[in-house]
């Protein structure tokens, strides 16, 4: 199951790898927990970038309003994606948990 999600994730371009890679079975690729922590790091980095940009514009260091808006939107979108993935995972987990053995 985890491999499946992994493929999905790499296919969707999450985890840094470009979408060009075909969704072949990735035996021996990055494991799920690595991918997850990598994407959390990435979201955190995007949020820090956005926060830096906001600081710069409020303190008058830069005048790049569009840049700030893009950075903020990017971090927002990344965070939402992370939340969506987490929700899906929890759903899958619940489903498996309820499966009669």
């Amino acid at each position: 199951m985890i491999d499946g999600i992994n493929n999905l994730a790499s296919g969707a371009g999450i985890g840094g790898s470009p979408a060009s890679k075909p969704a072949a079975p990735t035996t021996g690729g990055t494991n799920f927990s690595d991918m997850l922590s990598k994407s959390i790091d990435e979201v955190s980095r995007l949020q820090q970038d956005a926060s830096q940009a906001v600081d710069n514009i409020t303190t008058g260091k830069s005048e790049d309003v569009d840049g700030v808006m893009t950075a903020v939107e990017k971090s927002d979108l990344a965070f939402k994606t992370l939340l969506a993935i987490r929700a899906k995972l929890m759903d899958a987990y619940e489903e498996i948990k309820g499966m009669p053995i």
């Binding site: 926060s51 906001v54 409020t58 008058g60 903020v72 987490r86």
Partner: protein
């Protein structure tokens, strides 16, 4: 505890800026209202100076870590700018400058509001564990 939670972001900086723009809007409106008052001296707050003060604090905060520096005591200094022409009655007025300043001030205010909203929204998302 909640104070610390909020200070982890740059919400305090934005809050201060919001206070500044609100105070400046009031002074600019006062200047427009008194445009035909003899001997009236314009009052204003300097955005550049205030941003300078903010920048210092932000650098201090970046050095000591998030949540370490308080922004609550930052106050902009009241000024009497000498712009426009000095009329015979001792009043100095430049309506164009005033209108430009208030437009810029309002834009800054709305911009900061949007950013603050976004920040609160992200925090709410993290708390609720789903997109809002």
């Amino acid at each position: 505890m909640f104070e610390r939670l909020l200070n982890q972001t740059n919400a305090p900086v934005l809050e201060r800026m919001l206070k500044f723009t609100a105070a400046r809007q009031k002074l600019l409106a006062e200047n427009v209202v008194n445009v035909s008052t003899p001997g009236y001296r314009q009052k204003d707050l300097s955005l550049e100076k205030f941003q300078g003060m903010l920048r210092e604090r932000v650098e201090q905060r970046d050095h000591n870590g998030l949540g370490s520096t308080s922004f609550d005591d930052l106050e902009a200094q009241l000024e009497n700018p000498q712009r426009g022409m000095l009329f015979h009655d001792g009043a100095n007025r430049s309506m164009e400058q005033l209108m430009t300043d208030q437009a810029k001030n309002a834009l800054m205010h709305n911009f900061v509001i949007e950013l603050l909203r976004k920040q609160f929204q992200t925090m709410e998302m993290a708390l609720k564990d789903r997109p809002v």
